[in-house]
Amino acid sequence: MRLQRAEILSRERFGNHLLLRYRWNGCIPQPGQFVMVRTRSFAAALDPFLCRPFFVHDYDGESAALLVEIRGRGTSLLAGEEEEVVVSEPLGRGFDIGNGPVALVGGGVWVSPLKLLSRRLAGRGIPHELYLEIPSTAPEAYGDVISRIFPDADLVPTDDPERAPEKLLARVGDLSRYSAVCASGPLSTLAAVKRAACEQVCVQLAVRERMACANGSCHGCAVPVWDGGGRTYARACISGPVFLAEVLAW
């Protein structure tokens, strides 16, 4: 795996979320692409062993940002004090941007790639609307950061996790108003968006699976897909992480 050193420009911590910005003058990231990343010390020691995948959250021409939920050792190290990360180029296939209008639907930390997507859509003058789920169980800091990052989003409060996707989709309304729906959220949300998909609308879902190589070598990131009528596994790192809803064999 090809990785390069990058200076960390800032870390903002909101509860158990981290907004990490690093200097980036490599390939321009496309919305929905991800990077493999680790801090320098863990790169030198290979401990933890694998790099961690994250969606590119934002990019301004000079720096890239990641929105990270701190979970285990790898993400805790990213939240630490080190001044550099070791990071890959933007990887995988992102969202396909048509002419709009586009609905951006998400929840949890998975809303991350929707920021770069909405920035790109705005830059091209493509009309779009954002619908983000805010569970009542989420820490207050999470709600604050999401409303700061996505000032134009329609934030949908949800109480019951089981009914959350339904409530979110009720707010989005008739999907056929859009030419595309781009979703990145909890699996239940993605599954609900997939079920609601209709023929005229290009529905794209950002999926995640555990990754090791992130270059198609290990077949570790298998996602079930339909291929020529049969069910098979695609590699999320090179054929995704964004898939057309109808391709996913969920």
């Binding site: 290979l46 270059n215 070598s217 290990c218 077949h219 298998a222 996602v223």
Partner: protein, 284 residues
């Protein structure tokens, strides 16, 4: 060279000018979809994987073989469920001029023996290697062995006609999730965690066989490759190490070691000092 199953065509750009051979993922007679996710779990200093030999099957693989040609010899790794399937795969590859050598992945289950692996019995290893030798008379045949029973299986492979031995494959491992109180993954452990085990296997086996031994297991640096060659390997495979480092960096470190120590790669295999000599060197 890459270890089987750890370098895809999509990543060939990273290894041009680095590896001496290409070794694609193990091919089986029929296509295999592989196991449902999750297929990976990180472990201390390594990974547990359960990919399930996802591959397009031998016929489709051969149709696409030109895609593997980057000007390096192509070594094809094969696996069957039975001795006869292994032999059929070798026969199919025997006449294929683009194939330089065949590696038998003998750590897979033998359906004729209730799913125990071929490596579970030296007699089975003899049988399968001999059948493949007959089916593949004119190309080098490598037997890739598991750590379990490595010594007996190595002797059996050599006697049955293997030209080289690859040691080792992943080691059986389990990941348990204490939060969900479920088994997260049953698979094979690879990476630095298994390096000392692999080194020991290479060391013991290379002392009793006369065919070359290819070391595999936990190589993530140039000095790891050196250690395998000092232990008795004539060549080294890089698997999981390629997921976390660039193979080119590993090769560069290997070259720096040779330069600094005024050694040649081909001399490393016999360059291991005796314990007394090295202890003396430490004193002065």
């Amino acid at each position: 060279m890459p270890a089987a199953g750890t370098l895809g065509r999509e990543a060939f750009g990273e290894v041009k000018g680095v590896y001496g051979a290409i070794l694609p993922k193990t091919v089986t007679p029929k296509p295999r979809a592989g196991n449902p996710p999750p297929r990976l779990a990180e472990a201390p200093a390594g990974i547990i994987n359960s990919i399930g030999l996802q591959n397009p099957g031998i016929e489709r693989f051969l149709e696409d073989l030109d895609d593997y040609d980057i000007g390096l010899p192509i070594i094809v790794s094969v696996a069957g469920d039975t001795v006869a399937e292994f032999a059929e795969l070798c026969a199919r590859l025997a006449g294929e001029s683009r194939v330089a050598a065949v590696e038998l992945n003998l750590s897979c289950p033998n359906t004729e023996r209730g799913g125990t692996t071929f490596c579970a019995r030296a007699e089975t290893i003899s049988e399968v290697v001999a059948a493949c030798r007959t089916a593949l008379p004119d190309k080098p045949l490598f037997a890739k062995l598991a750590n379990e029973g490595a010594l007996n299986n190595a002797l059996a492979s050599e006697e049955a006609g293997a030209d080289a031995l690859t040691l080792i494959n992943t080691i059986s491992a389990l990941a348990v999730d204490p939060h969900t109180r479920r088994i997260f993954l049953k698979g094979g452990l690879s990476g630095p965690a298994i390096k000392p085990v692999a080194l020991r296997a290479v060391y013991e086996v290379s002392r009793v066989v006369s065919v070359p031994v290819i070391g595999c297991g936990g190589v993530t640096s140039g000095t790891d490759a050196v250690a395998f060659m000092l232990a008795g390997a004539s060549a080294v495979q890089v698997g999981s190490g390629g997921f976390v480092r660039e193979p080119g960096e590993i090769l560069e470190e290997f070259a720096v070691y040779l330069r600094d120590n005024e050694l040649k790669a081909q001399n490393l295999t016999s360059a291991l000092r005796s314990r007394d000599e090295s202890q003396e060197a430490m004193l002065y």
